[in-house]
Amino acid sequence: MRIIAVAQNTFRESVRDKALYVLLFFAASTILGSKAIGWISIGQDIKVMKDICLAAVLMFGVLIAIFVGTTLVHKEIDKRTLYTILAKPMRRYEFILGKYLGLASLLGLVTVVMTVAAVLYVVALGGGVDLVFFEAALLIYWELLLITAFAILLSSVTSPILGALVVFSIFVLGHGTRILADLPRQFDDVAGKRALELLYYVLPNFSNFNLMREAANSVPVSGAYVAWAMLYGTIYSAFLLAAASAAFERKDV
């Protein structure tokens, strides 16, 4: 119950954030502008539109998760509202979980709004949308949940600016971890090869959530794959939230 109260409060607070509307404005402009880029491709305007729409959902979702997520805990400390909250019978992990769920709800709303807008726009311009498009949007949301967990963890241990930079770096590098599993032959005799391969399984693999190419080209993806990817994201996010709670428990506030 206390977790829900914090979540509701976080949701309300985030919805009032002007930065959210600025980002949504740019997201809407990108989605509407996708047609213009599609015009100069050979009959590929719908494919280009789908690509850009899904990329906008991901990119602006990531920016919201990072900019809002990394300031969540720090803002409470800075405004000294945290002391009032913690003075109440509330455990610190409940506070962290509430914050996470509040932001997750906001991101859910934003993802749904942007996806529906993208679908309507594509359909209005004569395109069709398959199930895989919605699967892609669902996995984008799961990716945002994982990024939010990173943002909450960093928000508990460091400053917002540093946290935002670190989370954005994790987002970029997390899409390139496959390189560690596909090391070139030159690495065959290098002692560190095993360590790098192990690192592949430790680092977050955001590519698991990337079905945008399949969605744009209407290539079907099995429901089992989507379910496994969601399970991966859920377990990783749970681990990060546990780490965030542990760090926040030890934090001297």
């Binding site: 880029i37 100069i40 491709s41 050979i42 009959g43 590929q44 494919k47 280009v48 690509d51 850009i52 899904l54 990329a55 991901l58 990119m59 990716e143 987002f171 970029v172 899409h175 390139g176 496959r178 390189i179 955001f206 590519s207 959530f209 990337n210 945008m212 190419r213 399949e214 744009a216 080209n217 290539v219």
Partner: protein, 339 residues
Amino acid sequence: MKRLAAMALAVVAAFGSMAAIQHRLDAMRSPQPEDELLYLPNEHLLEHFTAGMSGVIADLLWIRCLLYTGKHFRGDHDFTWLNHLCEMTTRLDPYFVDAHRYGGVFLAMLRADDDACIRLLEKGMVNNPDAWELPYEIAMTYLLNRPNQPDSAVQAARYLAMAIKTGKAPPHVLVLAEALQRDYNLLDVEREMWESMRGSDDRLLRDLAEHKLILVELRVACANLGQAADRYAAERGAPPKTVDDLATAGLITALPKDPLGGSFFIDVEGHVQNTSVLDEQVERARTVLRGGLDAFRQKHGRWPANLEELETAGRLDGLPRHPYAGRAWHYDAAKGTVE
């Protein structure tokens, strides 16, 4: 009111001056060299660091590829970076069927690089086994670009069968496959292909198809004039000296018009030819030679002493014959250029 007018005037003046400065800056800046494409990262690395945006980057690269192709198609016909752009686009989005398809068409028809075309299309077939367009284009490449290869018709029939097997191929592919098995007239196959491309929404493809269709008709006209020349020789005991002799003898009503500005003539071997058709063949043969020269230089660090060295070094399977009978290639070993 006055204040509002002053503000509007100030805004117009500010943006007007900025536009003028921008125009001047654009004029001062030298055109961007296309060798910038050389500095695009290796596609294997690029794929890993797109932060999930590989589809969008592939779209942008494809648009860049179309602009590049359009510019050089209307300009110098130098398509050095075409393969690189197609490879990067399709690596970043392996499900992008049209990038494989039209990339392959451009490589075969404009860069005269059949090998790269077939490689790109076969790679696309691996990731898109249901796309009938990819095996169809490989079949067309065998038929149109490798007509002299002994097994080209067999290979084409094999790929057409693959296209039909997808269950999505339009009826004309089935007709082509059947016709091929009856030793089809390849000129009709080519005409049908360009006719279907002429219906494209894209201007570049339409222009290319229009150009190719004109060349097909010119080749048909050459064949018809050749038959008239044979009749002339049979009736008069000597071949005609010029194509005008055919009209004078009443064997043709008038010489066909060449919309590309070329002319018909009888070459030193007695065949009726057209300069637009031959010029295009010269361009294609030069592209093949340039590709061989570049590959030779990359491997040996120098230009070959003569064109025959390309053959002995295994860079080319055979030197293309100069399309104009009686003419030879002029090769500059110092600059590595062929005229």
